[in-house]
């Protein structure tokens, strides 16, 4: 975050702001890759290192993540002796949308399921997703177009097999969600209402006003709580996976408790990782839109047991995180607000980018405006640009209140009214584009281990489109739940930490420091004695 000291001061810019001012023409489009190279945080100098050990040795990785992937484990064999053991068919780690979908599907297929989650069931990034879920259901849309948009949006780095299967699942995913009791916005004729979004060739975003994730999460949470075959352990983060004698197969996990700090062993045939992303690692010093628990634990656990990861150098910075009011710093203004026609305006009162370009491009353009002195500065020196909501209110009175109640409610407690005052925004760390390598059933390269949702990679390439995350978590969550249940082997004879020993040897040989322990579990500023590393 360099060159953040220039720009026009907030109150001065606000006094100068007019919702009816002439905006002037959009500047000529610049070369997208030149813009990304110059301003996108993925390309910042010194932000990448090469991994020294593990399945991705030699690959580029964000520095903060690499430190955790190549760190020491919390436990060794001595910790396992005398630890209580629970046997279960399927263990799901993570209580967001992906974890709940996986647990529900596994239970539907007849498995006894344990869902363990670090915080409270439903406490996740899913609950904060505002915009919607993509599914090709309109007459002039097709599965094929959905596939193409997703691959293009991801700069063709996504796995076409995964993208195809997810897009094809879209309509069935919506039916399943409605069956679970999820509501969606409808047209007067009863059709599901669809919206446009950045990078979509046609309206494809199905939504529940701007509470799509909350509606999804509270319904799935209730379905999980009510399900007779699913047991839920809250406040129970996973600190390590368990492997068989050869360290080649995942046969369970070691959980701890944030309440009493005691370890528990869970022995199982299949483990489904649904731990989400890593925004709370604050890569490159950025604020984040993410939930408190998003500390990349799943990536660390999967890597240590030998799973292949991908695109560890690619993260999504959502263009419009709030800079003001301060207590919402980094929190999102949904892309739906831009899709509804809201423009981005710099301190000089000019537009500077087509607002519905893919997120990485819009993000880079905002960072360019800020670093070249055309941003708006607040007291602590941070700089942003206007999201011109009052202009939208003028053009379409009442729309903000009707379609974006979440935004209105959140800003109200700080006395900010987006209908009267433009919102000051700056890119915020939002999404992990890559993750654990999976096949179409969510299976990782390690037998017995599945990964679904944000922790998995390969679907969104190097940039995710709006509305594909909520689809991804349900599509692959259900697939992994079913596949994990189909695994009917006899289960583990012995649970070991052989994989931990293997990585420890590799770290020693590579001369790595091994002073840090991982997974992170909670950000350092929030541990407050609940979790001591």
């Amino acid at each position: 975050m360099t060159a953040m000291t220039k720009g026009i001061y907030f109150t001065e810019a606000l006094a100068r702001y007019r919702a009816d001012s002439e905006l002037g023409p959009l500047p000529e489009p610049v070369d997208v890759y030149a813009l990304l190279n110059a301003y996108h945080p993925d390309y910042l100098r010194d932000s990448l290192v090469k991994l020294a050990v593990g399945a991705n040795a030699g690959d580029s990785c964000q520095r903060e993540l690499a430190e955790l992937l190549q760190a020491e484990a919390f436990i060794d064999e001595a910790d396992l002796a005398g630890t209580p053991v629970t046997d279960i068919d399927v263990l799901v780690i993570g209580g967001g949308g992906a974890g709940c979908a996986a647990a529900l599907m596994a239970a539907e297929k007849g498995a006894r399921v344990l869902l363990a989650t670090k915080l409270r069931l439903g406490d996740s990034n899913t609950v904060m997703a505002e915009g919607g879920i993509q599914a090709a259901i309109e007459p002039d849309d097709s599965i094929q177009q959905h596939i193409q948009d997703t691959l293009r949006g991801g700069h063709h780095a996504g796995d076409p097999a995964l993208v195809s299967i997810m897009a094809a699942d879209g309509p069935e995913v919506l039916r399943w969600l409605i069956q679970q009791g999820m509501q969606f916005e409808q047209t007067t004729g009863g059709d599901l209402h669809t919206r446009r979004a950045g990078g979509l060739s046609t309206p494809r975003l199905v939504h529940c006003r701007d509470y799509t994730g909350l509606e999804m999460m509270r319904v799935l949470r209730e379905a999980v709580i009510q399900h007779r075959s699913i047991e839920v352990w809250e406040q129970s983060p996973a600190v390590e996976l368990l492997s068989n004698e050869t360290g080649q197969k995942c046969v369970g996990a070691v959980l701890t408790s944030l309440l009493d700090g005691r370890l528990r062993i869970v022995r199982t045939r299949s483990v489904i990782l649904a731990t989400g992303g890593l925004g709370r690692l604050h890569l490159n010093g950025f604020p984040t839109s993410n939930h408190l628990g998003a500390t990349g634990d799943g990536l660390v656990l999967a890597y240590r047991i030998g799973a292949q990861l991908r695109e560890l150098d690619s993260f999504q910075y959502h263009p419009t995180g709030l800079l003001h009011p301060a207590h919402l710093s980094g929190k999102l203004v949904t892309e739906g607000v831009r899709a509804a026609g809201t423009l981005l305006v710099n301190a000089l009162g000019n537009r500077f980018i087509d607002e519905l370009q893919p997120r990485d491009v819009v993000c880079a353009a905002i960072l360019r405006e800020c670093s070249e002195g055309r941003g708006i500065r607040v007291d602590d020196g941070r700089v942003g640009v206007w999201l011109d909501t009052p202009r939208l209110e003028r053009a379409r009175p009442g729309l903000l209140e009707k379609q974006f109640p979440n935004l209105m409610t959140r800003t109200k407690i700080a006395g900010v009214d987006p209908r009267k005052q433009p919102l000051l925004t700056h890119p915020t760390l939002h999404y992990q584009n890559g993750g654990v390598v999976i096949d179409v059933n969510g299976a990782t390269t390690v037998p017995g281990l599945y990964a679904v949702g944000e922790v998995a990679g390969g679907i969104h390439g190097r940039n995710r489109l709006m509305g594909n995350a909520l689809l991804d978590i349900i599509s692959f969550g259900r697939r992994a739940g079913a596949a994990a249940t189909a695994n009917r082997d006899r289960g583990p004879k012995k649970v070991t930490l052989e994989h931990v020993n293997r990585l420890r040897r590799a770290l020693t040989i590579a001369g790595m420091p091994m002073t840090l322990r991982s997974p992170q579990v909670l950000p350092d500023y929030a541990t407050g004695g609940a979790w001591n590393r």
């Binding site: 915080l119 439903g122 609950v127 904060m128 259901i137 007459p139 599965i143 195809s164 299967i165 897009a167 094809a168 309509p171 069935e172 919506l174 409605i178 069956q179 679970q180 009791g181 999820m182 509501q183 969606f184 004729g189 009863g190 059709d191 599901l192 509470y211 994730g213 909350l214 509606e215 509270r218 319904v219 949470r221 209730e222 379905a223 709580i225 009510q226 399900h227 809250e234 406040q235 309440l259 939930h291 003001h324 009011p325 301060a326 207590h327 929190k331 109640p405 409610t409 959140r410 407690i413 700080a414 006395g415 900010v416 005052q421 697939r479 079913a482 929030a526 407050g528 004695g529 609940a530």
Partner: protein, 222 residues
Amino acid sequence: MTIKNSPAEMADESRPVALTINGLAVSAQEGMTVVEAAWHGGVPRLTGVGCMEGVCGSCRIMLRRGDIVSVGLACQTFVENGAEVIFLPPASAPRHHYELSDFKDGWDIHARFQDIFPEAARCRHCHGCNVSCPKGISVEEGVMQASAGRFRDAGEIFFECVMCELCDGACPELIAPAHVGLFSRRVTAHFHLRPPNLIHRLEELRQDKLDKSVSYIDDGDD
């Protein structure tokens, strides 16, 4: 413009605020939320913090300011001098059990509701739920609509519900209003949401599967 009065703006002046959180004296700064103040003051064993934008319903607190005791969400509550804050434990497991798949059709849903939530009809209109709701939902009205079998209207009233379950704790009749609200929303979608555009596309895909055995379609259901 309301900007000058916003707590965030005043935070820049760094005026100290003294309060207690879980019994510990904390010196915070004006404009901080209770969550920020708790971290700032090193309050131990905080496991109830989630999204920090008021939608996950985890950071439940009880708060005393002067003579007034109230409940709310820590991430949505700004610090005040002399306030006493207690983080509440997570809600206990629900006592009302149902699975939507047990309901065969929508005609007997009103009877099923009364079996599952028998207490809902006994609401004594004490307004405890309304007062406890951090989202300002007319909880009591929602429970009344559900008791009358008007599940669509009831569900709409609960639209902004974040499942903090503070209303459940406030109800002397143990109605579990938050779960009444969610039940209402779920049965409305489950029995009545039949969108033509989605149904048409599902049928097209089914035909594709029969005709051309398109390889990428595998709904995993059969």
